[in-house]
Symmetry: C2
Subunit: 350 residues, 2 copies
């Protein structure tokens, strides 16, 4: 029995991948619209701070994993005192805080955008003087899908920017005029085996992923460099499970270069294409890794185009479902809201 | 919400196929080891004869389907008075009784082994005199995986054979010295659209399917003939959902010929390869058909080898799971017994 913190679409797709391996899942999530409940063998509805519920949950499962990186430290601590938590809570600690995360990546010898810690209007002002404009102010913690970010443009008032991110501990980051955004989905098991999927090219709108295509339009060296970076990050974190590394690809002269943007210590939206477009999906790979199985083949089956269905996008896909190579995935969410990920569609062209 | 009668692996794989379409499932099954419960949004544990439970179930779902053909007539009647049942109960009536089934197929102009109704020791004796030995005595109803069958060999005592099938209404069937057994998985929706997958070649041991391979080693004409026969059967039954047609392939001189063996009005073991080896699985196709969706592409993705994991066969597959193109499916059954289908493995070679 695999315990999963979180009841959204990532947890749901993990459950659907665990089932063919003969494994059952127990979902732990607070009250709300939790589409993973519909396919889970067991569920606990409780806040992440409910110690008694966490203890009962830990005792009912053989291993705990999660679908989101912002698991409270106390939650992870309670669980890991009773049951194995994978990926290990220390990976969460590293990736939950942008300052620690970027320092960790830089210390591995991997390129990241320049960054400076900011914790007051004064330090923000000094940092902007150093990195120039435009630059990007990001909270150290709890940012996702563009939340907790402000671009410091030439006209931006720094006090307003500081207020805009809630005056929280932050970093100022060099603005990278990138050519494209790419990511690597990687998996690592307890034996230290690592597999990396082909590099995904990602497009965003309003900071939300809209489309992933493969192969990415990058050179073979850049492709290999991104995979190597992911492998090194996985090894350095002694990581067990699936993770994603997001990169900016820039061009300097005739030369492509990679900068690591961030690490997501979980299955990742840019890896959804692997369900239909790779021999082993990222979800199955994650379940294998945390369950002590060997990892599966990451072979890509064709050219890939994955589109998120956001808000009302799910309307109208019925007519396309007869198209060969097109695979529809709806998450079964009760309510559609603007910006909400309702499903995705993958086209595999062989 | 899709209601499914039966909680075994076929129901389980239907649920897993329904989820990506955003559809939930409610499983109705009697007490027992029901692996479909582990992935279902709702469940009813009750006998198939419990009228009150059937009525509550019917009111809780939008459509009812089933994983096995021996749904009691009264159960189907109660359900279909309250909710749509697909495939339609009349398809069950035709296929539940070998005499009706074979007459139906013959009346469509399709070849079947010769058969004679048997309902007494006297009529058995007359039938054997007519069809000769060897021939096969089969109960009209409730036969599966070789249960309810006796081969009448030269030395077989007819009274013992008659006792051996429980003195139940039966047919005596011509013994066909076939070259191979093949099947066609087909789907038909309410619009009358029909799709047929490529022909599967099947091997059995002790009347239980052990292996399915594609392409089948038959001529292009035989392949097309089998698909055409399945389409005609689907149309004649006004069928909605997935069904399988099993054939014997014989050789007469240099000429291959097809005889219909039986119709299975449900997803079928010989179609399990479609999960990994076709663009749309038989399970998704069934859910699409009964949910009013258009049907999906049946394109085969490579050469196929599907093996059932029976009894203790599940041991040892862990070491093979890194093989590219190999997909393991375990059904999560609580207990392994000799002859019990515990999972299957599909190898897709591109």
């Amino acid at each position: 029995m695999i315990g999963i913190l979180g009841g959204g679409q990532l947890a749901r797709m993990m459950v659907l991948a665990a089932a063919p391996l003969g494994l059952k899942c127990h979902i732990y999530a607070p009250e709300g619209d939790n589409p993973a409940f519909d396919v889970a063998a067991a569920k606990t509805i409780a806040p992440y701070e409910d110690h008694a519920a966490l203890e009962r949950f830990a005792r009912a499962v053989d291993v705990v994993t999660y679908e989101f990186e912002n698991v409270p430290a106390k939650t992870a601590e309670i669980l890991s005192s009773l049951v194995e938590v994978l990926p290990q809570p220390c990976a969460l600690e590293t990736t939950q805080d942008r300052l620690i995360e970027k320092s960790f990546i830089r210390d591995l010898g991997l390129a990241v955008p320049d960054f400076i810690a900011v914790d007051s209007p004064e330090s923000l002002s000094k940092a902007v003087a150093q990195l120039g404009r435009p630059s990007v102010l990001k909270t150290r913690r709890f940012g996702y899908d563009g939340k907790g970010q402000v671009i410091i443009k030439s006209e931006t008032n720094l006090d307003e920017a500081w207020a805009g991110i809630g005056k929280a501990p932050a970093i100022l980051e060099q603005f990278i005029p990138f050519e494209r955004e790419v990511s690597v989905i990687a998996a690592r098991n307890a034996l230290g085996d690592v597999v990396t999927y082909d590099v995904c090219e990602n497009r965003h709108a309003h900071h939300i992923l809209t489309e992933t295509t493969l192969p990415a339009r990058i050179s073979a060296e850049t492709e290999q460099g991104a995979k190597d970076a992911a492998s090194r990050i996985g090894a350095a974190l002694n990581y067990v499970g699936v993770f994603a590394v997001e990169f900016f690809v820039g061009v300097s002269g005739a030369q492509e270069f990679l900068l690591v943007n961030e690490i997501a210590p979980r299955v990742h939206n840019s890896g959804h294409w692997t369900i239909d477009g790779a021999e082993t999906s990222q979800f199955e790979q994650h379940i294998r890794a945390i369950s002590g199985w060997l990892l599966g083949s990451v072979k890509r089956l064709g050219r890939i185009e994955m589109r998120n269905l956001i808000g009302g996008d799910t309307d109208g896909w019925h007519d396309l479902v007869t198209e060969p190579g097109l695979h529809v995935h709806l998450y079964g969410k009760a309510e559609s809201r603007p910006g909400r990920k309702m499903g995705h569609v993958t086209r595999v062209t062989i």
